[in-house]
Symmetry: C2
């Protein structure tokens, strides 16, 4: 070990299929090489090189209901090479160089791994992960301008999460043979398909009529064990709370590709509405540069709604709103461009505040464990026009 020293990470020598670069990969390499060339050119011309990144803040965000998600504005900030910026400048180029290598080798790194890889960069190494995360967010924002996500740069999130069951065949690529691989999500019994960290390369086959994104694992398991996906001809996706990037991107690509609607089934509380559903549908403010990839504008809110609490007589299965709930709900009404743009949402949130209670999706169990699939969902699905936007 003592002698082992490598300036760059050694990538896999494991036998893998000869990498066929797809269009997005080529675009990624172009972006990286283009940036490197510009920097090289200014250096050759004795001009201090600079890198331009979109400004990542709410001040540089716009929301158009027709577009359907928070968009990045035109604001950019430059990082010019100087005594003060030389380190982060070098780190930016280093991370992009690794990205190029990973695309060519069909490999990836988590943000955490990227941080550790830098430990061999000498003076350019990151001391703490927040440093590498910031540089990576800049690169990600830069890439987003030309329509590339961080996953395209081969930097994957730590967590994937997200389970799938139902009328869907996922088409993946065997890393060894390079051949297509069909994964039938009706074939996993009480288990399910776990969404990988990156879903850009996946294709889909389905006859399903819609997707249900479900907040809790327990509800997902119930609908799966009873094959609700069969009786309702749909695809079940467990988000396990706020969906991860991979889960959001999976749902988005599936919905775009197959032109099927997405219905969110979450708890009736400000967290389920303003965090889980809102993030799924329009994304978040400070990550506006990635919303275009990760939000699901075609998502609609199936329930649980404040009105459901009355319609399904769940009053005695509710919980009082906590301070934090009330604050979150009021923020949504006062500061959130999404809710503020949709009257039905303003009404619903005001109704919740007036009632002063929240209800979990499990509360439907009051009427029987399977009331949810025998009556609640069928009744709701019979009136999709009534879904909240």
């Amino acid at each position: 070990m003592a002698e082992r020293k490598k300036p760059e990470p050694k990538l896999s020598s494991v036998k893998r299929a000869p990498r066929k670069l797809d269009e997005l990969d080529k675009k990624t390499l172009q972006m990286i090489e283009g940036t490197a060339l510009r920097v090289r050119k200014s250096i050759d011309g004795r001009v201090l090189p600079e890198l331009r990144f979109p400004t990542r803040s709410l001040s540089n965000v716009k929301y158009d209901t027709k577009v359907g998600y928070f968009e990045l504005g035109k604001g950019t900030s430059a990082r010019a090479l100087s005594v003060n910026t030389v380190k982060s400048f070098a780190q930016t180029l280093r991370l992009m160089a690794i990205s190029k290598e990973m695309v060519e080798n069909n490999d990836f790194a988590t943000k955490r791994e990227a941080y550790y890889v830098s430990k061999n960069w000498g003076d350019a190494k990151f001391n703490e992960q927040p440093e590498s995360d910031t540089v990576m967010d800049d690169i990600e924002a830069m890439a987003s301008v030309v329509g590339l996500s961080r996953e395209q740069l081969r930097y994957f999130p730590e967590e994937h999460g997200g389970s799938v069951a139902g009328n869907l065949v996922v088409i993946d690529i065997d890393s060894e043979t390079g051949k297509e691989l069909e994964i039938d999500c009706t074939g996993f019994g009480t288990g399910s398909y776990s969404i990988p960290h990156s879903v850009e390369h996946l294709k889909f086959k389905t006859e399903a009529k819609f997707v249900i994104a479900i907040e809790t694992g327990g509800m997902f398991q119930r609908l799966n064990n009873h094959k609700f996906w069969k009786s309702a001809s749909c695809i079940l996706i467990e988000t396990a709370g706020v969906p991860t990037r991979a889960t959001r991107r999976f749902i988005r690509r599936l919905a775009d590709d197959k032109k099927i609607p997405v219905y969110a089934f979450v708890d009736c509380d400000p967290y389920g509405i303003a965090n889980i559903y809102r993030t799924l549908k329009v994304g978040s403010g400070n990550m506006a540069h990635i919303n275009r990839f990760f939000c699901v504008p075609q998502a609609q809110y199936l329930g649980v709604t404040p009105q459901d609490i009355l319609d399904f007589k769940l009053e005695d299965a509710t919980h009082p709103l906590q301070e934090v709930d009330i604050k979150r709900a009021k923020d949504a009404l006062k500061n959130d461009p999404f809710f503020m743009a949709h009257k039905p949402w303003i009404k619903a949130i005001e109704q919740m505040l007036k009632m002063g209670v929240r209800a979990e999706q499990q509360a439907l169990a009051k009427w029987g464990l399977n009331f949810v699939l025998e009556e609640y969902l069928p009744r709701k699905l019979a009136n999709r026009k009534g879904f909240l936007p």
Copy 2:
């Protein structure tokens, strides 16, 4: 809705296979009916009925290295029917009655759902979930005495978690046809098989030589994307931090059934060692009544070890131990029967405290993203005698 009132949850009317009760199901029904009969008998005999539960506390736990996990002692406490206990007494019988119904209908309820189901019990309803959880823990402890787990009573955890990839065929039962269903865990591409909430009914087919339980999603994805499971002929299981009940039970049943060793691959810090690994291997103190089902005594600690930090020159990729780490490590040496019973562990933890640093499994990326599968794991697996107990 107004007229809808049901004293007991209405269970599924969805078309399902005629339920074939297995041995454990029959045993579960016997336990429930036996308890109900005893209560009925004393009432008929004008004697106040009582229910006996094992005492759930560290004071009633014993650890035998040969047995390999914290065992429940002989201590029990009785809940005699009285004015003060009448409500919890009734709730206990109610939950057991629902359990019987669920076994007969091949259904299940999460602890959360069970709480809501009670909303139709009139005066016997639970006001907060902690109440129902406590009663359920008592029932679970009672059932454990005759070798039954809570899952056997059909009360499933909220979360499942746990992804699987590699040389394993999981055999499930199709809820509709009742026929066996084979799930090939080599066929998920970059995705994986997500473990269901209950795994009692699963069977396994495998030629794999061992199981690796992996702490982080990123590392699991790396080993899966590079098909490490193929080159090493093993099964990869992501625990995503401390493994859930379902994941622990899945690993345990797989290891017992197929007689294959389980190697834990976690971060080198007191949390990875004392929480994740220790819980996986011997279980926990306050849940001693279920350790017999959920711990994996055959598990061994592959790494990352404090010695690995030196052997693989990871010093500059470590982090200083925090107060909480030091406290946790010292507790392990002073109060944890498991670590106290194993000299190699005492040495290792003392070494970590002396070095004053921790290292994550991703730290290996310092030597290249795939150093972990090209050098670290092969070298470690070549010397399995060196694994910590």
